[in-house]
């Protein structure tokens, strides 16, 4: 049965889009049929991160409004056969996204795919609540930093009240994805520790994604980081997180502070 996942946070710029692309790619690399859906109407970016920006023809709003069929708006990834993208509209207003239309599209996507991963816009307004509306699973992306944790708490409250599942009195599966984690700054006591964030938000941990230049490079090239740097620390973290989403038990690895040869030569610290 298909699972609908919302990648959400409240706060902007914490790594939702990056994580949507990476988790989507990781699940698809494992053979699952995956569609990543951009809900950030007016400010789409998932197409850029996925490297499909030149191939967008129709978008979510065209489908919702009946100007295009779903299959005409879906963009098949050129690298992973089982991965597709449903882009957001860049020009339309987010009010063009109507709840009934979204419900229909999600129902149709459930028929076609194993995983429907919705990249939420920042904020707690309409766009964010529509993105989470039909979710079975929520990935709450949080940075180890006070305002991000507070916004995540707010989002968790919305997940427990505004989703279809919550309204039916069912549980929505919530997971914490701690992103942009800087082990150096955490050990120096400049950033909230993993335990602190977990204790405050008290939802299970899906993974810890280290702050990494591999992520930046991947988005420059328009390739999900799991494909672009298969051996990197963020890739390992995303692959493990994807396995946990599939229900596997995977031992959590904590990003450690390790100084590599070159960074020692340069007198800098790197995250392994």
């Amino acid at each position: 049965m298909a699972r609908v996942v919302v990648v959400t946070s409240g706060k902007g710029g914490v790594g939702k889009t990056t994580s949507t692309a990476a988790l989507g790619a990781a699940l698809a690399q494992a053979g699952e049929h995956v569609v990543v859906v951009d809900f950030d109407v007016g400010l789409r970016n998932l197409d850029l991160v996925m490297g499909a920006e030149r191939r967008v023809v129709f978008d979510l709003i065209n489908v919702v409004q009946g100007d295009a069929k779903l299959h005409q708006a879906l963009i098949r990834d050129k690298r992973i056969e089982t991965l597709s993208l449903l882009p957001a509209s860049q020009t339309r207003d987010k009010d063009a996204l109507k709840p009934e239309g979204v419900a229909k599209v999600i129902a149709e996507l459930r028929e076609k795919f194993d995983w429907v991963i919705c990249d939420s816009p920042a904020g707690i307004e309409r766009g964010a609540t529509l993105a989470m509306r039909h979710a079975d699973i929520a990935v709450v992306v949080t940075n180890p930093e006070v305002s991000s944790v507070r916004d995540s708490d707010r989002i968790i409250g919305l997940l427990d009240s505004k989703t279809e599942r919550a309204e039916r009195g069912e549980r929505i599966d919530k997971h914490l994805l701690l992103a942009r984690y800087d082990a150096v700054r955490a050990t120096r006591g400049e950033m909230l520790k993993v335990e602190d964030v977990l204790e405050i938000l008290s939802i299970p941990l899906l993974g810890i994604i280290p702050e990494s230049e591999d992520v930046l490079r991947a988005s420059n090239l328009g390739v999900p980081v799991t494909l672009n740097s298969p051996a990197s620390a963020p890739t390992r973290a995303y692959l493990d997180a994807a396995r946990r989403l599939r229900g596997e038990t995977v031992v959590m690895t904590f990003p450690s502070q390790k100084r590599s040869l070159i960074s020692r030569l340069l007198g800098r610290k790197a995250i392994a």
Binding site: V57, Q72, S260
Partner: protein, 103 residues
């Protein structure tokens, strides 16, 4: 990161710059082209469906935006043999679309 990967690594920022230039040159001009593409799709389908039976669900519009040229591709899946389809649907008064079969 080790010494080897440090030197081998391709710089990614120039690629990012080039991708953005192409994308923005398209986005700035027409504020998104999905309306134009929908019109093109519908008109092309209207012309073709005067001669062929086509199923809306078997029509795929593809686009690859480029700096100098863009590639617009419209794939239409037609059931059976194309020549049979055309003969079946040909208007009696119009000019023949295909030379008459030799047999």
């Amino acid at each position: 990161m080790n010494l080897f990967s440090f030197f081998r690594r391709r710089r990614s920022a120039p690629v990012a710059r080039e991708r953005l230039q192409v994308l923005l040159s398209h986005e700035r001009g027409n504020g998104g082209d999905s309306e134009l593409l929908a019109v093109l799709r519908d008109e092309i389908l209207r012309v073709i469906s005067a001669h062929l039976t086509i199923d809306d669900d078997k029509v795929q519009v593809k686009l690859e935006r480029g700096q100098a040229v863009s590639l617009l591709e419209i794939d239409i899946e037609v059931p059976g043999r194309l020549d049979q389809q055309i003969r079946k649907r040909r208007r009696p008064t119009g000019p023949p679309l295909l030379p008459a079969p030799s047999t």
